[in-house]
Structure formats: C-alpha cells, structure tokens
C-alpha cells in the first residue's frame, strides 16, 4: 500500500470522524463537570435543595450517561470506522451518511440528558434516556454500524484480523441489547423484578462487554503497530475472544438480589470464569509489548493504550471478586461498584480511545494537533486522576461495607467512614476534568483549523483569476 493510498483512506474518514470525536469531546467535558457537581453534593448537601436538577439523583445518572453515550460509544464507533477502512485498505464511501448519523447520535444524547434533568429518566441504570433519545440513538447507531460493515464487506484486503472479530461482535451487540432492554422495560414493560434482571443484563453487556470488545479490538490493532512485534498470537486472541463473549455476556445479576437464586449464582460462576479470558489477554499483552523494537512510549498514544490495557485487566479482576460471595456481600451497595465502573469506562475505555484518537485525527485531517505538549500532560492528569478515584473508592467501599455489615455500627457511621475517600475521589474527578479539557481543546482546535482551511480554500477559489478562455468568452 503506497503512502498516497493510505492518505486517501485516512482522508475518506475525515468528516465523520471530526463530527463523532468533536461531539464526543464536548460530552466528555460536560460529563466530567456533571460528575464533579454530583460528587460535590456529598460535601455540601444543603446547597443543592432548591432546584430540581441539582440533586445527586439527577446529576449522577446524567454524568454516567454523558460519559457512556456521549463519549464512549461515538468515539468507539469512529475508531471502528477508521480501523475497518485501514485494515481492509478500503476508503469509506458515502461519508455523508455517517456524518448525518453522527449528528443524530449527538442530538439523541442531548434529548436524553435533558430528559434526565426534567424527570423523564426511565429509572434504570444505563438506560435512563427517555424514548425519544433512545430511538434517535438506536437509529444513528444502526446507520453508523451499517456503514462500518459495508466498508468491511467491500474491503480490498480480504483477510480478517483479530481486531475484526472483536469490533464486529461489538457492532452487533449494541442494537440487540439496546432494543431488547428498551422494548421489554420501557416500551412494553414486563412485570416485576424481571425488569430489574433485564436491566442488569443490559448494563453488564453494555458497560463491560461492549466496551471490552471495542477497547480490546482497538488495542490489538495498535499494540503491534507501536511495539513493532506481531500480535502474540492469533490463537491466544481467538481463545480470548470466545471465552470473553461467552463468560462476559452471562453475568450481571448481583448476589442477594430478590430474584430466583440461580440468576446470581450463574452470574457469580461466570464472573469467576472471566479469569480464563483475562489470563489469555495478559499473555497477549505481555508478549506483544515486551522487547518491542518500535517507538518509545513518551506519554503519547502508545502510553495511553498500554495504560488502558492494564486498566482493563484490573477492572476485570475487580469484577471477578463478585464471584466470592463473602467479599461481594461486603462490597455490594458501597462505592466499590462505582470504582469498577469508572475504571472500566474511563481508565480502560476512554484512555484507549484517547490514544487511538491522538493517532488517528492528525492523519485523517492532515493537520497536526495545535498543542502537542498538552498530550503528554493530559495523559499524566488522566492517569493520576483515575488511579486516585479508583483507589479511593475501592478502599472507601470496603471501609463503608465493613460498617454496613456490622449492625452495631450506626448507619450514619458507614457514610462517615466513606467520606474521606469520597473527598479523595472528588480530587480524582477534578484531575480527570482537567485532562478532558486538554483533550477537548486539542480536538476543537483541530476542528477549527480544518474549518479555517475550508474557508481559505473557498476564498482562494473565489478570488482566483479566471482562466483566459473564460475571460474572452
């Protein structure tokens, strides 16, 4: 493949990627502002009582959804579009459709977030967006997914790579779980606790399995590229893929839930079995990175994807602890769960996407980032922020759980035990907000530079002297 062809492929993704990543960067910043505000309600609960939207019950779901639906999914889809075009060596055709779909997606997120603030939330975690928002999201996802698959099936390079398996499965996963959950909980609701079981099934498949598939698919594309060694190996990847989708999709119901006992038991068993894909993924990562001859890390894309990879292992190991009934009795209903979710969505997925986007955007747009020094700073801020947040809430969660499980301790003691850790986690959120601002700054500057170059091109065309024959005529 010549440099020229590669440039063409990158350029074919330009406009869809700018819309997807630009909107994603905006939601990312908004989401972390909301998360910070939600966290502050614990430090000064009296200040937020006069307005409907200012309570934790509105701010936290909005922050979670802004991160997952606002950033993670559109960023992931953009990266998938580009990786498919690159792996298949086929330019993206009909880029107008993904551009429209990306706008629809961001509109859906806006509708959903407004819905949460005016009290139209559906009341189920990760499914809070009211119908209007979720219908837009579903439609936009179908268009984007379809375009990615059309590019895949029309690829010039006929082979299939491990990244393909992960990314294609994730493309199918979302429409299935999102439509099922919306139909059976929101549209034509089933009765009683089955709603809660479906919501848990959906939440696990989206926040754990979908993000894992996209994030690992991306990492398996970039790690060999950066380390200069081939992915180790095809068969390990195949094994990890199968075990991850089988065990990862069959869990999610917490221990002690008021549902038939086989559901939490099966979930716990499959949580334990997650050790199998984790082991395979550790081997793949270790053998692919170690002794690489490629570029040094230096706080750029490679660093971010490596950090995301380690976060995935840790986040999955935190999920495995839910298989141990004594430990999960202690940590359920505490901040421990929030720590795991944030590690998965931010430490693993968002940071991996940062790495991918920093690599992809300059190539797709053909302009370098305006503030290259911020990239390294951003990486350190994001990394310190998420480590602080997760470590604080894991320890705080255990401290809170020990008080909750001890009936002689007053309930207020459990809240008090977690409070210093909650303060530390607020600090972590502030660092992540700074990191997100730096990321957004670079992306927005890129979009601005691209628009400015468009204006210049048009202007140049307007004032260009006419050709002589035309003047004569």
């Amino acid at each position: 493949m010549t440099v020229n062809e590669t440039n063409k492929i990158d350029a074919s993704c330009r406009v869809p990627l700018l819309v997807l990543f630009g909107g994603a960067a905006m939601w990312l910043v908004l989401g972390s502002v909301l998360a910070l505000a939600a966290s502050l309600t614990f430090h000064m609960p009296d200040k937020f009582g006069d307005c409907t939207w200012g309570t934790y019950g509105h701010l936290q779901p909005a922050a979670d959804n802004a991160l997952l639906y606002g950033f993670c999914i559109p960023a992931g889809l953009g990266v998938v579009l580009w990786i498919f075009a690159r792996l298949g060596q086929t330019p993206l055709r009909g880029a107008l459709v993904p551009v429209i779909a990306a706008h629809l997606w961001h509109l859906g997120v806006l509708v959903g977030l407004v819905g949460i603030f005016v009290g139209d939330s559906t009341g189920y975690a990760w499914l809070e967006f009211p119908r209007g928002g979720s219908a837009l999201l579903f439609f936009a996802y179908m268009l984007l997914g379809l375009w990615a698959l059309m590019n895949f099936s029309g690829r010039r390079e006929g082979g299939m790579f491990p990244s393909h398996w992960f990314l294609i499965t994730a493309l199918f996963l979302f429409p299935w779980i999102y439509s099922m959950a919306n139909i059976m909980i929101v549209g034509w609701p089933v009765r009683g606790v089955v709603q809660a079981v479906i919501a848990w099934w959906f939440g696990n498949n989206l926040t754990f399995l979908w993000t894992s598939l996209i994030g690992l698919g991306t990492a398996f594309y970039f790690l060999p590229k950066f380390s200069g060694r081939p992915l180790h190996t095809y068969f390990y990847a195949l094994f990890a893929f199968w075990t991850l989708i089988i065990f990862g999709s069959m869990r999610g119901v917490p221990i002690g839930a008021p549902v038939p006992a086989w559901l939490p038991a099966l979930s716990a068993l499959n949580s334990l079995m997650l050790l199998v894909p984790i082991a395979a993924i550790v081997v793949i990562g270790w053998k692919t990175i170690r002794g690489g001859t490629g570029q040094a890390c230096k706080g750029g894309s490679y660093c971010m994807i490596k950090f995301g990879f380690v976060s995935f292992i840790l986040s999955a190991l935190l999920l495995v602890t839910s298989a141990c009934s004594h430990f999960s009795q202690l940590t359920q209903f505490t901040w421990f769960g929030a720590a795991q979710t944030q590690l998965q969505l931010y430490g693993f997925f968002t940071v991996t996407m940062f790495g991918a986007i920093y690599y992809i955007l300059p190539r797709a747009v053909g302009i370098e980032f305006a503030f290259p020094k911020f990239i390294r700073l951003q990486h350190w801020l994001a990394m310190t922020g998420i480590i602080l947040f997760v470590a604080a809430l894991v320890i705080g969660g255990v401290a809170q759980g020990l008080k909750l499980q001890n009936p002689d301790a007053a309930f207020a003691d459990s809240t008090k035990a977690a409070l210093p850790f909650l303060r530390a986690s607020t600090m972590g959120l502030m660092l992540m907000l700074l990191a997100n601002l730096l990321f957004a700054l670079n992306v927005f500057a890129m979009i601005g530079a691209w628009k400015w170059s468009l204006v210049k091109t048009v202007f140049a065309a307007v004032i260009a002297p006419l050709n002589k024959p035309e003047v004569k005529a």
Partner: protein
C-alpha cells in the same frame, strides 16, 4: 475465522444464549407469577399499592432516589427459637428441663426436638423462626426481599448503592407521614447527622393566608421559614410519601418465612 459471516454467527449464537438465559428464562419463570398465600393466614400477598403510592413511585423514579437508596433487604439465613408458653401441671419439672436446654439460635430440627421434649414433660412451647443478617439486625425488615414483593410494580427500583438506608420496609419502620414530610424538606431537622440533601423543591413556601394551611409543616426554629410564611408540601411530596409508606417487607411467605410477633412498630431503626 477468516470470514465475516462466521463471526456474525458466533456473535449471534452467544448473544442468543445470553438473552435466553437472562431475559427469556426469568420472564418464563416469573412472568406468570400470581399472588401467594401469607404463611399461617388466609390473606394473599401482595396487594396492589394504592393509586397515590403508585404515582409516588414515579416521583421516586423522576428524582433518581434509587441512586442512593436500595429497596432490597438481605438476610444470611434463619434461626429458630423455642419459647415456653405454658409450664403445664408440673412447673418445676418443666422449668428444670428448660434450664438444661438450648433454646436460642437453633436449626429447625433442633428446635423441634427441644419443643418435643418440653411437650413430653407436660409444658407447651412455640417455635419461632427469625431471619438473620446485618440488615435484619438493623431493623430494615423482618425478612429478605423476594421477587413477590414487586409483583405489581411497573418499575422496580432495587438500587445498588446505600448512601442512604434501605427503604424496602420504611413504611413499617417510619409509618408517620408527617415525619416523612419533615425529613424530605429538611433531613437534618429529624435525623441529626443525615447526609441526605433537602428536597425543598417538593414544597412550596407561601404567605399564610386568612386561615393557615392544614398541611403546613411544623418545623423546628432553625428550619422554619420567615415569620408570616408557611411550608406546604406540593402534590409530588405527598405522593412520594404515600409510596414510601406503602413499602413493607413484613409479611411471612413460603419463600421467606419468619414468625410474626407483636412488637412495637414505632421503634426507630438503628
């Protein structure tokens, strides 16, 4: 796996398995659930919540209460106790026997054996079943929550975080609507070290008219509005309280048995 179609089939198969197990099977098992008999009683359970309480569930949802409160009492198991109800004709024999027996923290078989011995000696004994676990000890419920508790709810707010206490049984624990309203308006006025934010927007502060509103809250001095004003709950607040008061897990069921005892229901929980 060289072919996109193979991947599609793989993903489809695995998803179908996951969906059948976690969506279809639970619906087949529970979708047709009906009311069940209450243990040692002719009543059936559950009955639908009153209309205002069902509307209150929507207020609960809209305000994201489930972000901080769970509605699922958990228990670790049950223990049995044997209680002597009558010493019979030979009190000294029975009381000597009782002194030698272990009557608390028994399994069901041990309790039956102990009760059998007392009956054989001429006394009368009852076996009580008591749920165990931290939640029960806190007074958050008399038994664990079960699927049956949510049979008629078209929104099941089980929650996942306990920044605030569990609410599955709050209607039994705090049956006073006025207390609930005060707690919503100014949590610290009734629970000194509460971490709950005040929900003042569910209330209206207005000038006292010709006759004071009968609904007006009677607040402590530091929480009271300016002189000449009163705090009146909006309909949302009343619905929410109706919902909270409808939350009970105090009915013994086959799935979650316990012996209902006559105890004071106004005791505040720990």
């Amino acid at each position: 796996m060289k072919n996109g179609f193979v991947i599609f089939l793989a993903a489809f198969g695995v998803l179908l398995m996951s969906w059948s197990t976690f969506v279809l099977l639970p619906q087949l098992q529970l979708g047709g659930a009906k009311q069940v008999a209450v243990l040692n009683s002719s009543d059936v359970y559950p009955v639908n919540r009153p209309g205002e309480a069902n509307q209150g569930l929507q207020v609960y949802r809209a305000n994201g209460c489930a972000a901080c409160h769970t509605e699922q009492v958990q228990q670790t198991g049950v223990v049995c106790e044997v209680v002597l109800t009558s010493a019979g004709k030979n009190p000294s024999v029975v009381s000597n026997l009782v002194a030698t027996l272990k009557l608390r923290s028994l399994t069901e078989q041990e309790a039956e054996a102990a009760a059998g011995k007392i009956t054989a000696a001429g006394g009368k004994a009852e076996t009580h079943v008591i749920a165990t676990g931290a939640d029960i000890a806190r007074g958050w419920g008399l038994r664990r929550s079960v699927a049956q508790d949510f049979l008629y709810d078209n929104l099941v707010q089980l929650g996942s975080l306990r920044v605030g206490p569990d609410l599955a049984d709050v209607g039994r624990r705090r049956p006073d609507a006025n207390w609930q309203l005060l707690h919503l308006y100014a949590p610290k006025s009734v629970v000194e070290n509460s971490a709950m934010p005040p929900f003042r927007y569910l209330f209206e502060t207005k000038k006292i008219g010709a006759t004071p509103s009968p609904d007006a809250l009677i607040l402590k001095k530091e929480f009271a509005p300016a002189a000449g004003y009163e705090v009146v709950p909006k309909p949302e607040a009343k619905k929410l309280v109706a919902y909270l008061l409808s939350l009970h897990t105090d009915v013994p069921l086959y799935d979650a048995p316990f012996t209902a005892l006559q105890t004071s229901t106004n005791a505040p929980a720990k």
